[in-house]
C-alpha cells in the first residue's frame, strides 16, 4: 500500500512569488492535514481538510490556503512568499471523521526555501 506522497520534494522561490505543494493521501483516507515545520519551531498546524471541505485552520495568515480534490488529494498554496515561510511542509492523512482516535500518517515533506 502506497503511503502519503508529497511533491515537490524541494522548492526554491523568491520573495513575493507563489508556491504550490501537493499531497496524495493513503488510499481510503479522507482527511488531509498540513503542518509547517520551521527550524526550531516544531510542528505548527496549518489546515485540515475532510471530504473536500476545510474543517479547521491554524493561526496562519490568509495567504496560506488550499483545497482538497474529489479524489482526496490536496494542494497547499502560499501566496506572496516571505522569507520566514521557509520550512518543511508536512502533509498527513487519516481515516477522517469516522475514526477520531486514529494516528496520522505523514509524507516525507516538501522543503520550501524562500530567497
Amino acid at each position: 500500500e502506497a503511503g502519503v506522497t508529497q511533491s515537490p520534494t524541494h522548492l526554491i522561490k523568491t520573495r513575493g512569488q507563489q508556491a504550490t505543494l501537493r499531497c496524495s493521501p493513503i488510499s481510503g483516507h479522507t482527511s488531509v492535514y498540513w503542518y509547517q515545520q520551521a527550524l526550531g519551531l516544531g510542528l505548527q498546524f496549518l489546515l485540515w481538510y475532510d471530504e473536500g471541505e476545510e474543517r479547521n485552520r491554524g493561526n496562519f495568515p490568509p495567504r496560506f490556503s488550499g483545497r482538497q480534490f474529489p479524489n482526496y488529494s490536496s494542494e497547499l498554496n502560499v501566496n506572496a512568499l516571505e522569507l520566514e515561510d521557509s520550512a518543511l511542509y508536512l502533509c498527513a492523512s487519516s481515516k477522517g471523521q469516522r475514526t477520531r482516535t486514529g494516528e496520522l500518517f505523514f509524507g516525507e515533506g516538501s522543503r520550501l526555501t524562500v530567497l
Binding site: 485540515w48 479547521n56 508536512l90
Partner: protein, 112 residues
C-alpha cells in the same frame, strides 16, 4: 485549549541504558495521546498511542509510554537504548476535535 509540553530540548543517553522522553499535556475531556519519531529529512512516523485502558502502552521498536492522568503526563520510555534510536521525538495530543497538537520535540542522542 489543548497543549503539549516537552520540557527537554535534548536527551542524552548511553547505548544500553534506559531512556525517558518527557511529555505533559493539557486538554479538556479525555485525551488521545501519541508519540511520533522523525529521522533527519524525513516525515514523522507513528510510534504508539493511548486512547483508553491500560496505562502502559507498547509501541514500535521496543518503545513504550506510560499514561498518568493525575500528573497529566505521557512519558516515552525504552529499557535499553540503541544508537539507531537517535532522532527527534514528538508527543501529540488530540481531545477528539480532530486537530492534533504537537509538542516542540525532543532530540534524543544515544552514544555508543
Amino acid at each position: 485549549a489543548q497543549s503539549v509540553a516537552q520540557p527537554e530540548d535534548q536527551v542524552n543517553v548511553a547505548e544500553g541504558n534506559p531512556l525517558t522522553v518527557k511529555c505533559t499535556y493539557s486538554v479538556s475531556g479525555n485525551p488521545y495521546l501519541f508519540w511520533y519519531v522523525q529521522y533527519p529529512n524525513r516525515g514523522l512516523q507513528f510510534l504508539l498511542k493511548y486512547i483508553t485502558g491500560d496505562n502502559l502502552v507498547k509501541g514500535s521498536y521496543g518503545f513504550e509510554a506510560e499514561f498518568n492522568k493525575s500528573q497529566t503526563s505521557f512519558h516515552l520510555k525504552k529499557p535499553s537504548a540503541l544508537v539507531s534510536d537517535s532522532a527527534l521525538y514528538f508527543c501529540a495530543v488530540n481531545s477528539g476535535g480532530f486537530k492534533t497538537i504537537f509538542g516542540a520535540g525532543t532530540r534524543l542522542f544515544v552514544k555508543a
